[in-house]
Amino acid sequence: MIQIRTVLKVLDNSGPKTARCIGILGPPKKFATVGDKIVVAAEGKVYHGIVACCKVEKKRPDGSFVRIDQNGVILVESNGKPVGNRVFGVLSDRVKQPEILSLGRVKTI
């Protein structure tokens, strides 16, 4: 449940360590969750981001839930291209964008 003013951890090597959510893209809603695109501000600049992991549990179709200990985001440009070229940590399996999964050695859970 990421909302405006949430501080997320940046999971790639684009530079900033943390980013603050300043908007949620797509149809109007209050909370973003894993796999959603959000607008973030990091080190004075504005990027888009894809929420990679979330502290609130996410239900899977088989009835199980996953909960990760941090709120993480991967910074992307407006056209969807990732800003960094390496991704660290654990991502959720709802992150399906091939540009991100191709950044090598990505661990999805």
Binding site: V66, I68, D69, Q70
Partner: protein
């Protein structure tokens, strides 16, 4: 629980599940499908909570992946769960051990 619900559920409840306690280190095998391939994925972790609800009994399993804690809640009577094996048991004096989420050193907390 209502006996009628219990009668319907009894057809689907597994009887080969070991008795899981809080503080068990378990290895759970889950049936997953990647594209066209089907395989069993094993994962280990500590049971930190158990919710008894007949066929909807769930356990919460916590493990650490690449320095980050991951918790998974499983419905143990699900057909996707192929095996649950208890590797070790830690003596715990609580029903839910959520305090280990703040543990810097897990061994001290357990």
């Amino acid at each position: 629980m209502n006996s009628q619900i219990r009668n319907i559920e009894s057809a689907y409840i597994k009887d080969n599940i070991p008795s899981i306690q809080i503080g068990d280190l378990i290895k759970i095998g889950v049936f997953i499908k990647e594209g066209n391939k089907e395989r069993i994925q094993y994962s280990e972790g500590i049971v930190i909570s158990k919710h008894n609800a007949g066929i909807n009994t769930t356990i919460t399993m916590r493990r650490t992946l690449q320095g980050i804690g991951v918790e998974r809640i499983y419905l143990i009577h699900s057909p996707k769960i192929t095996s649950i094996k208890i590797l070790k048991h830690f003596k715990i004096r609580r029903a839910k051990i959520f305090y280990i989420r703040n543990a810097k050193k897990l061994k001290e907390k357990i």
